[in-house]
Subunit: 245 residues, 2 copies
Amino acid sequence: MNAKKAVERQTGVALWRQIADLIRLSISNGDYDQTGMVPPETVLAGQFGVNRHTVRSALAALANEGLVQAIQGRGTMIQRKERLSFPISRRTRFSQGLGDQARETEARLLAKATVPVAGDVAKGLKIDPGALCIQLDLVSSADGRPVSCSTSFFPQSRFPAMAEEFERLRSITKAFAAQGLADYVRISTELVARHADAGELALLRLSPGAIVIEATAINADPEGVPVQFSRTRFAADRVKLKIET
Amino acid sequence: MNAKKAVERQTGVALWRQIADLIRLSISNGDYDQTGMVPPETVLAGQFGVNRHTVRSALAALANEGLVQAIQGRGTMIQRKERLSFPISRRTRFSQGLGDQARETEARLLAKATVPVAGDVAKGLKIDPGALCIQLDLVSSADGRPVSCSTSFFPQSRFPAMAEEFERLRSITKAFAAQGLADYVRISTELVARHADAGELALLRLSPGAIVIEATAINADPEGVPVQFSRTRFAADRVKLKIET
DNA sequence: TATAGTTGTCTATATTAATAGACATTTCGG
DNA sequence: CCGAAATGTCTATTAATATAGACAACTATA
């Protein structure tokens, strides 16, 4: 694993961004744990085979994310180093799974609406196209850092007060419970990874070019009747999805 | 969904690459299914708010991937449009799960070695650090297109002939069977998404800047004793991972 | 067969990314 | 308190990216 780390030219991705991504990866892999510092700029420039200024651009981007902090004369220190491990199982819930990985989790409501659904959503919820659903858009954070943003649909006929209950209780699980659904399970999850779009960049406070993992999931009541269709976009560099079978 | 698609400047990702990524996404979303063609360059340039030449660079990249083909006077036709759905469950196997999605699947052996393992691998396999394992590096393809590349470790003491059996039978499942292990199950899968490195770009024939999903998995025999530790990198734009709980 | 609509090619220019080198400034240990 | 090692700042140059416009070449159709 001592090979020169690879950056490529003329790919449409600036060298400084490729290098920033690689350093971010090394940090979360714990490669620099012994010192708690990023190697000196000249060393990195040598490893990547680029000019020191290019490395400085990469480090500036990481400093802008709050991941590292450079101190003149000393070096560049690692400020944060995390990748939340996120369980996906039949009993997936946002806040629970994080357990003691974060001191504080929060789900903020961005938007609520009552909309007719069709296509994927209607099919997933096994309801007729055009039927009304409550739509909730959320951003979930751990320790103040956004981790995911999601759009969920709930059949209005069954959960007419979903939006209000969520605002009151600030938890999907509790909002379900308040409307008579004590338990639910994940029956389907599909994952796709792609570049974040502009809206996601803003919501998740990502730097452009960042990656999101999009999880399309369906939750159902114990009888198997779908109760929630959700599309959650995780900031890929902040999470590790752990599948429990 | 009629909003102008967003591209951002000065992000370290060239506009033509951002646009190529967005068009690729639209293609796999089926946005152009009615015509089977990408909209004209001038229309795309308007949508993205860039010069036509910039769109042409994006389309040239996609043509280079074999995703589209431009024909002078007619337009730019979509050549391929797929995303293999890849099941992940207790019974995950490569070729089986793809079912009728591909006519032909292949696993090619890149390298074999006997190596002492440590760290993650030893811990995952529940063996002592320094114990010997058979390491197999594979590239898996469906219909001639590489889908994933993987590195697997098998305890040498239990499966001494893993490499040879795999070369003979061209299947992990069959190689296990030939060494007395009739059945195995997935006990752990962790997913991370990141940019592909140079080696992966070459192996999976990806265009630079592409995304891979890295799945770190452990398979065990029916008694729960780990038999395989694998790290598989999927070409993110070619697969959809379907988690079955 | 004319023509509208499309991709292909060329030239020119401006902006951004990357390299190169020099030197200032700060920190820390001997 | 000196000097090695690190980051900060500046100038200059080259290469890659993006814009702009004009026109050629090809396709389909009215």
